[in-house]
């Protein structure tokens, strides 16, 4: 099968620092997770795949075409970048419509496309407000909407779950799943295995610019479950949350991080733990502001894979 994204012997150097190291990977159609700890080269890979960076060595092709300086190809490519940057003075609608207009759509078509994209990510209600007043989750959704607005065939999402609350994360996962089901190819980068696992069983593992593994998520999970998984929950009422969480069977330890209004939870069954979080947030009225997984466990797996 012809790969949608094709990296052949690609290296990228930033001076003496290496971003990608002789990476050869062929990514087929569908949803694929790109996993790696911070500094693994995920963002470099995505920026190379979207023509923002030029490979120092090797060849990058998307949909069978070279990417660098190929403006026509960008009609079929969308990117939700990692950086939390916008033209802050715009409303969400104005921002997404402007992105549509920059793609070459006429006024009316751009307005309709912006409304559709914002509806897809659940932002219709807030699209008339200035972006500078948006929460982190709303900003992530708006970034996703601008990536979708011109209906690209291939989507690149760089850490799309960063800063989202559990409910928002769940909804974002539903949107990405739906995009895959609608026939779009999606490459999602994350440093949290369990986020990606909720989307797709197909993953690529990067570490220090190299391909460590690719394939089915189950193989990676078997490795990661050998280590306790550490999850940080940021919450105003963190002591009350600690009391609830410590009663769960699958929780092995809870550490209160008062200075950060957060809990550090250790569990060997992260699936079950993550599954309960949205219910906790909605039913028990606990407002969890942020959830993230510490890199330690994933880092351990990478070390294992690199050294095996």
């Amino acid at each position: 099968m012809t790969p949608i994204i094709d990296f052949e012997g690609v290296s990228k150097w930033y001076g003496n620092v290496i971003g990608l190291n002789k990476l050869t990977v062929r990514i087929p159609a569908g949803v694929t997770g790109l996993l790696g700890p911070n500094g693994a080269g995920k963002s470099t890979l995505l920026q190379l795949a979207t023509g923002q960076l030029r490979p120092s060595q090797g060849r990058v092709r998307v949909l069978g075409q070279p990417v660098w300086n190929n403006a026509a190809l960008l009609r079929q490519v969308g990117l939700c970048p990692e950086q939390d940057a916008f033209w802050e003075w715009m409303t969400g609608f104005d921002f997404v419509r402007t992105c549509a207009r920059l793609t070459g759509m006429g006024r009316r078509a751009a307005s309709e496309a912006a409304e559709r994209a914002l509806a897809t990510v659940g932002m219709t209600e807030h699209m008339g407000r200035a972006i500078r007043g948006y929460s982190k989750g709303m900003r992530q959704r708006t970034k996703l909407a601008q990536a979708l607005v011109h209906e690209p065939r291939v989507l690149f999402l760089d850490e799309p779950f960063t800063g989202t609350d559990p409910l928002g994360r769940h909804e974002m996962i539903e949107v990405i799943r739906a995009l895959g089901a609608a026939g779009r190819s999606v490459l999602v980068s994350s440093h949290v295995l369990y986020e990606v696992q909720a989307l797709t069983p197909n993953i690529i593992l990067l570490h220090r610019g190299r391909l460590v593994a690719e394939g089915h998520v189950r193989q990676i999970r078997d490795l990661i479950d050998a280590h306790p998984h550490r999850i940080v929950l940021v919450c105003d009422n963190h002591r009350a949350l600690a009391a609830k969480v410590v009663a769960w069977d699958d929780v092995e330890g809870v550490k209160v991080m008062s200075s950060e209004s957060a809990l550090l939870v250790e569990t060997r069954r992260p699936d079950a733990f993550y599954g309960r979080l949205p219910i906790l947030a909605t039913r028990d009225g606990v407002r969890i502001r942020e959830v993230y997984s510490e890199d330690d466990n994933l880092e351990a797996v990478f070390k294992y894979l690199v050294n095996k």
Binding site: Q83, W87, R101, E151
Partner: protein
Amino acid sequence: MTTAPTSITLGPIREAPIRRGFMLSALAALFILTLRQNLRGRRLLVLSLLFLLPVVLPGVIKWAPDSPPPEALEFAFVFNLIPHLLAPLTALLYAAGAIQDEVEDQTLTYLLLRPLPRWALYWTRLAAAWLTTSVLTGLFTTLTLVVVYWNTPELWGDVLPRRAAIVVGLMALAQVGYCSLFGIFGLGTRRVLSLFGGLIYIIVFEGLLANFDAVVRRLSVVYYFRVLSLHWLVPSGSTKWPTGDPGSATRMPPWSEIWSIDLTTAFSAERCLTILLAVSALFLLIGAMRMRSQEFRMKTAEGS
């Protein structure tokens, strides 16, 4: 709380309603976006305050006894302060920021991801920078002329609109040179460095070297502005004004003498125009080629 459906079904992929051809619609959208960006923020406020200097100062000076005639004030403010300092400074801030601002704000990604050739992106941003700087310079130049010639018979005849129109046109022409040059300054270097380099250029070339009666002054935009001014404009009224001593008067030397430009040996107006536009076109080409090959690495949290 945002609302999203818990189960989402999207339609099949369809061809987005994107116009074929040269993407004029996208470039127009980019041009309008850039103008909107230029018309907000502290930069416009600071420049407007600076541009108030040549508007307010002549008004104050005119109140003083034995004040110089309008021609002397016009020469000092309209033909020196504005073209020597304010016009290039405005061009530096807008043209160098055309790409640099987006890099610093990390929003360039949203432009680079669109199906626009990079050279077209660069030229469109610079075109918007040129329009902004030309309007800003032209508006305050006209205001300065009005203040300088206020209460004189020349105001509603010679100065407005003819003389003002020519001066504003000359300023816009000078901005073509400045914007095409400073656009390159904004590619590949940090904002602080490009602004510093631009200021050095303004002080050394446009401020100092332009005043030397030597070939090197032909490297400055101000030189061509001056020669064209001499070709197309002459002082509109008296060039004498009274001093403190009764019966004596100070004579203002001809502009060509002050600028050390002999029109009989200087470039013709046509040649000045050709050189200025050709060099600007060369700078635009260099900038476009640089933009085409330039990588713009966005800072990410992971810093990979």
